[in-house]
């Protein structure tokens, strides 16, 4: 009898290999990559137009500005503080043998011999801090050619800190009796909405009276302070903040704001920035300390800084230099005769003082050769707001 042995059952389907499981860390990395790509794509939608639209800024500076304007101000300030602290200049070193040449001629040079014209007020030369003094140190020079006996803008340079014999401060003086001050919005600062923004440059019809232009202070985003433009409040005004005020008719002043969030009579513009660094002829006692200097580069960090003061006769004094603390800048302005002063922009990217040697904004030149922004800066659309100094109507060049 034959025995029938049952065949082992054939597998009906080929057994599948179980799928190889990805380690958890690789899946976590994949999730992170997806999140990262998504965030970068969304950020790029905002960053690309911002960088492409910047007419006179490099990609790096435009990107930093974009980061500041989109919530990244504390990050930028931290990085800047860290960078500038790492690159702090050393004290001492060889002294300078000459100063950069500013202006076209010394005050008093080439004027009429007869002495018939009335002697106009001219500020006293700045007393040098270091000795022996260098040729032309602290001596006012006319900024414009053929400006006559009462030049509207004077320029000078001097070494402001004996501990740092290579630092040179540039100072400009603007005659309050012959000039008027205008606030000009940039193409991006102050931010929208803003009526009558203009094209972010000195209006062509005003250029025949233009004698100087300079940077306009922190953006509203970082200053946390106010702005009045054309008699209207653009940003809430804050009491106790240093304010450059322009009045209807072209007059100007630098004051400690105390009018609250309203527009006092005759005020045409008012730009605020941090507390006064000089008040009633004295340095602000908190210059070396305090959070009042805002969410920006620390007040003790040495960096390009600029400031604007007013002297006892109502004339404007602008000062700028590299490697300055708030305190050293205030000392520069005080030495030049300022009785009240406000800190303006910091960093080499924003610090500009440009004077024009000929009528019609002819032959523009930077106050200091290290100011790297083009002297044509405010004759073409600029991102940031600035101040323009014009001769008063009817005043001869």
């Amino acid at each position: 009898m034959a025995t029938v042995t049952a065949e082992p059952p054939r597998p009906t389907r080929r057994r599948q290999r179980p799928p190889k499981k990805l380690p958890l860390w690789r899946r976590a990395r994949r999730v992170l990559t997806a999140a990262c790509i998504f965030c970068l794509a969304v950020a790029a939608l905002s960053w690309v137009p911002a960088v492409m639209g910047s007419r006179n800024l490099g990609v790096t500076v435009a990107s930093v500005e974009w980061l500041r304007a989109h919530g990244g101000n504390p990050i930028v300030s931290e990085i800047e503080n860290w960078y500038y602290t790492m690159n702090e200049p050393e004290k001492g070193g060889p002294g300078l043998k000459s100063l950069p040449k500013v202006g076209v001629a010394q005050v008093g040079a080439g004027e009429s011999e007869g002495g018939e014209e009335e002697k106009a007020y001219a500020p006293p030369n700045i007393k040098p801090v270091m000795h022996p003094k260098l040729p032309g140190e602290g001596v006012w020079q006319k900024a414009g050619a053929n400006v006559g006996p009462q030049p509207p803008v004077l320029l000078t340079t001097y070494r402001s800190e004996p501990e740092y014999p290579q630092f040179v401060a540039g100072v400009a003086w603007m005659d309050g009796s012959r000039t008027e001050l205008a606030y000009v919005p940039g193409t991006a600062e102050p931010p929208e909405p803003l009526e009558h923004r203009g094209s972010g440059e000195v209006p062509p019809n005003m250029r025949k009276r233009l004698v100087a232009t300079f940077n306009g202070g922190f953006p509203l985003e970082t200053s946390n302070a106010g702005l009045i433009y054309r008699g209207k409040i653009k940003e809430t005004m804050v009491n106790g903040i240093a304010t450059v005020v322009g009045y209807e008719g072209g007059g100007f002043n630098i004051i400690n704001w105390k009018y609250g969030n309203r527009v006092p009579k005759n005020v045409w513009f008012a730009k605020q920035n941090l507390p006064l660094i000089i008040n009633e002829g004295k340095l602000n006692p908190n210059l070396t300390d305090g959070p009042e200097w805002g969410e920006t580069v620390n007040n003790a960090v040495r960096v390009w800084r600029s400031g604007l003061g007013i002297d006892a006769h109502g004339n404007l004094i602008y000062a700028a230099a590299n490697y300055q603390t708030v305190e050293s800048l205030a000392k520069v302005l005080k030495r030049a005769g300022a009785v009240r002063a406000i800190e303006l922009d910091i960093n080499e990217d924003w610090t500009s003082f440009i004077s024009y040697r000929h009528p019609g904004a002819g032959d523009p030149s930077n106050l200091l050769p290290e100011m790297y922004r083009s002297p044509e800066r405010y004759l073409t659309p600029d991102e940031r707001d600035f101040f323009a100094v014009y001769l008063r109507p009817g005043q001869p060049w």
């Binding site: 599948q16 994949r30 969304v42 990244g72």
Partner: protein, 71 residues
């Protein structure tokens, strides 16, 4: 509609990839909502990218080297 349970390894891998990407997008969305601004998100996104890209490149390079036949 039910999602089939037994799927090929390739389909399972695709499914897990889709899930991971969805989770990633939600995390990104959450970060954008929480952050002070899109600049902050972009900044940290860039830092992450600067870490992840070399990581992938090094890993890919090492894998390619391992796959090369030894002589």
């Amino acid at each position: 509609m039910k999602v089939p349970r037994n799927v090929s390894p390739a389909a399972a891998a695709r499914r897990s990839l889709l899930l991971d990407i969805t989770i990633g997008v939600f995390i990104g969305l959450f970060a954008i909502i929480l952050a002070a601004g899109i600049g902050v998100v972009g900044f940290f996104g860039l830092i992450c990218a600067l870490i992840l890209i070399p990581w992938y490149l090094i890993e890919g390079g090492m894998r390619a080297k391992r796959r090369q036949p030894r002589r």
